[in-house]
Assembly symmetry: C2
Homo-oligomer: 466 residues x 2
């Protein structure tokens, strides 16, 4: 391994140049005028794969943007890892807010600035560079690998779902590997082993069939906004718990070990509060902030509107009022079951004087890796070797539907090694990636592939992750 | 009177032609491109006043649109009535929805169609025509009259407030007269003796200082929409009463006589419900619909917004949420007191985790005429003579701030003789005025001026209306 890590350290400058090339392609998936750039970027990824020695490299066309595949399968008896990443990026606008050009990778105060540098081009390239070092120094890889890099992550990943389902045989693996998340904080290398699920709803309340004058009708007709507020107010109890009957029934509680790990995390509630700007943190009684955002299901109203929303005053009783709200789920809550409970509760809350329209926008599973699984534990050891610092296990309050989907499709553990930092402006102007995390991240990935090669066959195949 | 009423009946055709001229002027007060039309319309009104024999006719310029004044004060010992009306109109758009051109008075199925025909040009002209008949047949009027016709009613009447205050001496009177409201229904001539007041508020709740990702932060930060809904839900109790402490303290209850009158009204709850399209009527427990909209104070949320309000789903926790809400007040509630109570209640409801911004958009008094006052009772008799039908006393749930202001300024009773019908599209395409109401209305106004001439000095001056 010494030769591999030395090689990596000697080539940092070249990696910067290659990352600069990668980031120079404005592969904005949401804009049709970038169709050519997307194609060019997919080809850049394919060439990169070939240049480091991956085989069977193919650019799969889809109904949308292409998926790039490559593999190397000459380590018999060793685990096979399936890596997922994406080469598409968010639009760069508003351009005026960028301190350096978004399509020109720029190093400033220890950070690499460019659109897509952390989400996800930099993190994808880190894997290529880790593998390249093995190829150059050992003429082989320590494990078998398969790569799928898609071009539609920022627009919903629609076609890769179909692709994964169709090419399931091609993609068989012992574990899934993703680098598209963040570390807990600067200098705290992190293995993410859990994501929350998501059910997203919309309810529209109709009172009168048209807007009415609040003077001539006020006090005698059902006001849909008043009623919507009353209904929404009944979704939580006074202890901050979700008040939908049955909502917590299937929640898997934290184990004692997990709870201990969470407590030991260098997580500052004060800094978290400052990030939000809120006067106080709130939430479910009896839970810490980390528990609330990672390990407990929640319900938030994401949007509300009805009646007059312009400047000043208009004396109207609106015909309708609408709320968009969503639940974040944890293992082992079933999204379809939760949707049913929510619908039932909403229907029970609605008075007879109004009609309601209930819509389910999405249902996504929570995902939880068994954190004692050898492929997961290997992640921790690799990060500690690469960064020379203690690594932690974290969860993430958000959802990555694709991770849950791949998990369900392959029934294999998924390992999330994320090298971003919170507030690196993934979707905002001045997106950045810390240079040290980029460099040490490549080292840690080399260690990871090496660690995995020593995971024995029985332990990786012996059990299905939950 | 026979000669006066005969004269009116013989001149209906000419009235139609004059109303057509009046309505042909697009005196849209809200659009600066109609500035010339507004001026032309004010002059048309001034010429009309002169042509029927009013004196001291003046077009008062203001910071906005002009006010037209005229009087006739040669009936010593007789009451002086101050009539208020307006010559400005709403925009005609959307033009495509008009079945006949908005600026061309058209008779169709017994209704006169044109922008402004009911609000308020037709009703203003009816007064002129009633007085003209006296002038033609008797060379004098039965009472003293003063007219102020403004051009800013549809844009907030800002300048007439100052004008009335400044010209208080010019405008001294025994009673105020307004024709800008509606009858209870077709064939039910109505004297309106009460209007509700209005306090309009806005509250903005701020949780986090920026929008946050609902996955990474959901469940740990104060969600301003959740909190706003909880606060708004606490503005009513389960009996539909406003739950703000002290809110009902100064409410003047209906007298037994009023209650009896209201009960006897030909008011169909079923038809009212059908008008709204709502599944049920609701409101304060123990009150009829008519009581709820005319004689009880109410609170309605007029608008609400926060977070993501576009199509589909966005997993965001908004930084702010805003509600616009208003209370309709009845005598003897004081708007300033109510505003204080509402503010206090809102501040008490807001949890410490959020900041709130509370705005008062407007405060307007309720108005209630003493319905046993001779000038009010004269209205009922006049309507019954003019229409040959039983007239009723009604209130109106809405607010006409100017009426309350004039009432407070002059401490004289105000008589509201309205000739519109509900749903004559005052502010919508196909605005109309029923031809029969226009014609019988002129007769009833002639009877009213005649009736008032027989109200003796003591009774009209002997007490101040409440």
């Amino acid at each position: 391994m010494q030769r591999v890590t030395d090689y990596i350290k000697q080539n940092y400058d070249r990696y910067f140049q290659e990352l600069r090339e990668f980031c120079a392609i404005p592969s904005v998936s949401t804009r049709s005028e970038h169709k050519g750039d997307i194609q060019r970027c997919a080809e850049w990824v394919a060439n990169q794969m070939k240049s480091i020695g991956l085989e069977n490299v193919r650019v799969f066309p889809t109904a949308g943007h292409p998926i790039v595949y490559g593999d190397w399968l000459h380590a018999p008896g060793k685990p096979t890892l399936l890596f997922y990443g994406h080469y598409d990026v968010q639009p760069a606008e508003p351009l005026a807010l960028w301190q350096s050009p978004p399509w020109k990778l720029t190093l400033r105060n220890g950070d690499l600035y460019a659109r897509g540098v952390v989400d996800d081009k930099g993190q994808v390239l880190m894997h290529f560079k880790a593998l390249e070092a093995f190829m150059k120094m050992q003429r082989q890889l320590p494990v078998n690998v398969k790569f799928i890099i898609e071009g539609e992550e920022e627009v919903g990943s629609e076609n890769i779902y179909k692709f994964i389902h169709r090419e399931k045989d091609l993609l068989t693996c012992d574990g899934l590997l993703v680098s598209d998340t963040t570390m807990l904080g600067k200098g705290i290398p992190s293995v993410c082993y859990g994501l929350r699920g998501l059910c997203y709803f919309e309810v529209e309340i109709t009172g009168p069939t048209t807007d009415l004058h609040s003077g001539s009708f006020g006090g005698a007709v059902p006001n849909p906004i008043n009623i919507l507020c009353e209904m929404m107010a009944k979704l939580h109890d006074k202890d901050g718990r979700v008040a939908i009957p049955g909502f917590y029934q299937d929640v898997r509680p934290l184990t004692r070990t997990e709870r201990k790990e969470l407590k030991a995390l260098p997580f500052s509630e004060k800094r978290f509060q400052q990030t939000t700007g809120a006067r106080q943190l709130v939430g479910e009684k009896g839970c810490s902030t980390v528990e609330r955002i990672w390990a407990r299901p929640t319900l938030d109203i994401n949007g509300i509107y009805g009646g007059y929303t312009g400047e000043g005053a208009k004396t109207v009783i609106g015909s309708t009022a609408t709320a968009k709200f969503s639940t974040r789920l944890v293992a082992d809550q079933d999204p379809a079951t939760i949707s049913k409970l929510v619908r039932k509760h909403i229907e029970r809350l609605a008075p007879k004087s109004v009609s309601i329209k209930f819509t389910i926008h999405s249902e996504g599973d929570a995902w939880l890796a068994p954190f004692d699984h050898p492929l997961v534990q290997a992640g921790k050891r690799a990060l500690e070797k690469g960064f020379g610092k203690k690594a932690v296990f974290i969860r993430e309050g958000g959802s990555i539907p694709l991770v849950a989907m791949m998990h369900n499709e392959f029934k294999r553990p998924c390992i999330l090694l994320g090298y971003g930092l919170p507030n690196e402006n993934a979707h905002a102007p001045n997106e950045r990636l810390n240079l040290e995390n980029f460099q040490k991240g490549i080292l840690s990935l080399a260690y990871y592939y090496d660690e995995v090669s020593r995971v024995d066959d029985q332990s990786r195949g012996g059990r299905n992750p939950h």
